[in-house]
Symmetry: C2
Subunit: 701 residues, 2 copies
């Protein structure tokens, strides 16, 4: 962060604000900011500044002409004039700026130049700047909003309706909706729209709010970041200070197109990494704005679940079953109640009801609210239940009594609880919305929130630096970088001490005969090599399970013919002949430099189905073998390997490979990516890299 | 269906109704039914019957004592008295019954006996019976409801507020919520709660409604069925008559526990089959009640999408990106707009906006509703866009104008469109709810509905009967049925002409030496055989890639030692020594008798990760090779095998295996299940069953 922390504190509690760009006649952002400011119960001194209207009542020609140095200058002038306004105000002594103007980096070449100029100015003068292209800041605690946005649809929450969360968004509109959806109570004390993040980034704000004693939960909407490591450090810092961070990442589906050049398109782009790396730093992750809100509400009310299971109490058996189905699909547990819980349920429920989870109270609960409250209390007391979902429906004339009972019971449950009330009578809605039980708009949303609440948690293993020998990259891909040939990739990995199946290389004339290295034993895999061909299966360039020299000769002929047919004029460089790796579980490993997050390592299910399985998790590199084990534990394939269906594979060799790969990419910035797919993990744990692809950056860069 | 169709027609339009079990003093189901009946604009003659209150004003002692034979008798007496009431009314000539009473099969042994008695009576007399344990029937078209449920929270929709859908539910509560959630307009003309389905099943009602000229869409909530084939036939019939069926299946997560005895727990229970088999019959499938409602609303409004892509128009870039992310995650396409669409978007959008999909109208659309309408029109005209999602948020004072514009534009789009309006101003909600654009309560719900709208569609291939030779099951598992040993399973499949890798069998004394059949070539897989051991990997009973006789001797010793350690006292029967199948893609195939659906065949991703991948699709058996190809097309592994990443495997051999397995299970009822996992499909398409498990029913049964 540039600018001092006190600069941001002034944005949240300014004594005086200049709003530059206001107009006495035209509606516009600056005018709305002034109106919002002046609507506060205890407004700061607010000055309208516009040199075109200096003569008008209450208008000032410039910041310099104000009777005092304003704590904050809000800039809402055309983009081309912003730098001058900021410079003049900085000359007067103002250090905190909120730039609402758009027309910067988001608006093409000219805008980028303007943004660079403004950034240079801000850095040179040590200014605190939020924006440009920001919607501003909401402060629901003081009512002093610095924004041209709609403040909760005009509703001004009372002091006791403001929660202990803060919201940071990289899209002003999303921030505005999130605050508007949460009324009448708002979980958010502040909302910050970061805009183009010229100076203050989302990470800076997280780090600031992590130290705010009024804030327990920090909610984040992230579309991208230039400095991912700083964001992750801020999330970790917040966690270490006892704050919970809830993240809604966006732009994840761009992965497929952006990563198309990679060997396996399952590879993650920066935006996909955000979710995984933030979770590794301890964040909760939500999938939609509604889930973000629900997660924040639950965390503010009852903290996070301390057991993995979900308890379901439903007035309708069907709704309970559907909820259980969707929870199971999301990977959550719906535990059988413990014997004591069953007894407590039996005491709470009508005689003919079979206690269980889901608990079906049957329709009798509509007439006697104590049934549902008793069932909730019983399930809440179960050691396997970390959180609850209560399902009500309709209720007619009995609805208000049930709502009152649920609201009264909520604090006693002492576990996170969400309420889904389908076909809720209109009269009951506002009562519920004002109560302590987070109400989920749909059954699926409650399931999404329940999933978000079960965060994987921060990575526990200590970093361990890789100190193995580094391979020599000199002379490889000298012309502007690019993908190495298969044999170059293999040689690089072998020289780095990584386990590669034994192999021989046949030259381009192998079609006319060859002599095979005796170190290679059959069966072998034969792979045609040609510059520029990455997806060898697509040109028929691979034959597996070649059992003797006759079959090998045939495989060389067949792959050459197939490749020439599919890529006319292809320049065949030769063939690699690899001893078939032992059978086993196929794992995909990748170590790469990400533009936003720097070196990262990924692991997941490998093989030809890798992309369809979509099982990948990432960690910031380098990591040691212990963290590699945690990385695997966050993947499906890791669960297959360890303890699933009686398997209990020694993960040591695979973890060593992961750690080494992560070290290589972290220590050799010229490596853009090393992808190994598949790595074959045999029953005894032996890990063998069966195929790999390495991309280097230009050696001159 | 038992009972004639006219009996059901009378339930929907009774001229006279007797309600047995009503009380002049106590509130209860029968009293509510009478009140609901009498609230109709044109109520039928409604008679209160209760022999305890025969003296009271308006009460009759029995159906026999009524002045006319009622079209329908509603029974709400204690379970033990139901048969007598029905018999007496049948004696009088009534043929249509609605039994609301509970206490039947859902209530233990005594209840099951009562239900059997009532069923025998109904069948003997040819009665039309809905229930028992039914919530009744809503008829929103006539307002003549036969129910003790809450009718849309008391709201009585006008004639033009009633849609052309019907709802059939196996949980009265869900039905009541669904009708309550859909107000003020209701998509549903009728709602039927089927209760215990003594006579009338959900399938019967589908078949009846398929012929109702007032009905276009049939919505179904299914928790289970005794006669799955009848349900599927009814769904197919509805499709052939131009009706659309939307299904919400429940109880799918029970699969894991119920199928625990199976080889691979990914195996499907009846309830999991419902979703797949109904989709094969042409149904749309939803995941939650809210998604069911949304899907029905879209289908009623604009039918189903005719292209796979989704177009997104969003007033907030962020909301559009999140929606695209979730759509992509759900497997839906978000196509790039065609060049003409880009031009039309450019004309509709402000100059600085880059046309695309998602289309970000930017906040300017709040001030000028024509921007959003223009963008919607442009995307709707794109040939790749089959349906649209419109994202609005907040809007303040401009919200009513935008709502009006969207409502006006809806009919012209001529493509399914859903609206998500986050933080919608209160005043606008009812306007939207009454309008023609289906409003989705959350972003995730709109995505769920979009997915449900993209049904796989009915299976096109004609059935082809398997006419291969049948293996001899005599003498196998004679004592009460059960799992065959591995060698029995192999022999059975081999004798049925299925492709099994070459194998030899070693006896229990192989630890002390053996002579190997020369037909088996190394490398081989060694599998220990012992009665009752199904998950051989769990006891260390499998060694793969054994390369010579020395390794084989070692493998025999090692597996014996591991098995004895993990299962003390294990009776080792020997070892199978199988030639390793060629490498390739691992597929899981299963053919089984399902209690509800009869013979079915399933295919999906196989191997040790099969359960984690969760990629299975089912078809009713038998199927021919063409249908097998369609089955594979509905699986992820099918996409891997055909045309994905340059692969274009000949599916012929695998389809032949699928067809043969489906024929075996269909023709030999003693086969409970044949599971093959993995079936290895090599690059040339050769399919080899590498492992199999067969379970037989008792030969005496």
């Amino acid at each position: 962060m540039n600018g001092d922390r006190s600069g941001l504190a002034r944005v949240l509690a300014p004594r005086s604000v200049a709003v530059v760009g206001a107009s006495p006649t035209r509606k516009g952002p600056a005018t709305t900011v002034l109106a919002n400011l002046r609507a506060a119960a205890a407004p700061p001194a607010a000055y309208a500044v516009n040199n075109r209207y200096a003569g008008h009542d209450g208008f000032h020609a410039s910041v310099a002409s104000l009777p005092e140095v304003p704590d904050v200058v809000v800039v809402a002038v055309p983009a081309g004039a912003v730098s001058d306004v900021v410079r003049e105000a900085a000359d007067c002594g103002t250090g905190s700026f909120l730039v609402l103007s758009s027309g910067f980096a988001e608006a093409g070449e000219e805008g980028r130049a303007r943004e660079a100029e403004l950034k240079a100015l801000a850095l040179e003068r040590g200014l605190t700047v939020l924006g440009p292209n920001s919607l501003g800041v909401f402060n629901f605690a003081s009512g002093v909003h610095l924004t041209f946005g709609t403040v909760i649809g005009g509703h001004v929450p009372a002091a006791d309706e403001v929660g202990r969360a803060a919201l940071i968004v990289q899209s002003g509109a999303i921030g505005s909706y999130l605050t508007g959806m949460a009324k009448p109570r708002t979980p958010f004390r502040y909302m910050f729209s970061t805009g183009n993040e010229l100076v203050l980034t989302a990470g800076d704000l997280v780090a600031h709010l992590a130290r705010d004693p009024e804030i327990d939960v920090i909610a984040l909407y992230i579309e991208g970041t230039d400095d991912g490591r700083a964001l992750l450090e801020a999330i970790s810092l917040a966690g270490s200070l006892g704050k919970r961070v809830v993240l809604l990442p966006a732009g994840e589906s761009a992965a497929s197109s952006r990563a198309a050049a990679s060997h396996t398109a399952a590879m993650a782009s920066s935006n996909v990494l955000t979710r995984m790396l933030a979770a590794n730093a301890g964040a909760f992750t939500a999938d939609t704005p509604e889930e973000l809100l629900g997660t924040v509400a639950v965390l503010l009310g009852h903290g996070e679940p301390r057991a993995p299971g979900v308890g379901i109490v439903s007035v309708s058996g069907g709704a309970g079953v559907i909820t259980a189905d969707r929870l199971a699909e999301a990977g959550l547990e719906i535990p059988e109640p413990a014997p004591e819980t069953v007894e407590r349920l039996r005491a709470a429920l009508p005689g003919f009801v079979v206690p269980g989870n889901p608990t079906d109270t049957t329709a009798g609960a509509v007439y006697d609210p104590s049934i549902m409250v008793g069932a909730l209390g019983a399930l809440a007391g179960d050691p396997g239940v970390g959180q609850l979902i209560t399902l009500m429906g309709a209720g007619g004339e009995h609805a208000p009594a049930i709502a009152a009972a649920l609201i009264e019971a909520a604090p006693k449950l002492a576990k996170p609880n969400q309420l889904v009330w389908q076909a809720c009578p209109e009269a009951v809605r506002p009562v519920l919305a004002a109560g302590p039980v987070p109400v989920s708009p749909t059954l699926a949303n409650a399931v999404g929130v329940a999933r978000a609440l079960c965060r994987p948690g921060p990575v526990r293993a200590e970093d361990a630096a890789d100190d193995g020998p580094l391979p020599d990259l000199a002379g490889l891909a000298p012309d502007g970088g690019g993908f190495l040939t298969e044999s170059q990739s293999r040689e690089l990995l072998r020289s780095a001490g990584l386990p590669i199946a034994a192999a021989a290389v046949l030259g381009p004339d192998a079609e006319h005969g060859f002599a095979l290295d005796s170190a290679v034993a059959f069966p072998v895999a034969v792979k045609l090599q040609a510059a520029g061909v990455r997806h060898k299966t697509e040109i028929g360039g691979i034959v597996l399970d070649v059992r003797d020299e006759d079959e090998l000769r045939e495989a060389v002929r067949a792959t050459a013919a197939a490749a020439r047919e599919r890529v006319p004029g292809i320049a065949i460089e030769g063939w690699t002949v690899e001893q078939m790796a032992p059978r086993g579980v196929e794992v995909l490993l990748s170590a790469r430099h990400d533009p936003a997050y720097g070196p990262v390592v990924l692991a997941g299910s490998g093989g030809v189905q890798a992309e369809l399985i979509g099982d990948l998790w990432a960690m910031a590199a380098p990591i040691g073998p212990d963290a590699a084990r945690e990385l695997l534990a966050r993947t499906k394939v890791g669960r297959v390997l360890s303890g699933y269906r009686g398997r209990d594979t020694d993960l040591g060799p695979l973890c060593a490979v992961i750690a080494r790969l992560s070290g290589l990419v972290a220590r050799l910035p010229r490596i853009r990516e090393i992808e190994c797919n598949p790595v074959i993990v045999a029953g005894d744990g032996t890990a063998t890299i069966a195929d790999s692809l390495v991309e280097l950056a230009d050696s001159r860069s």
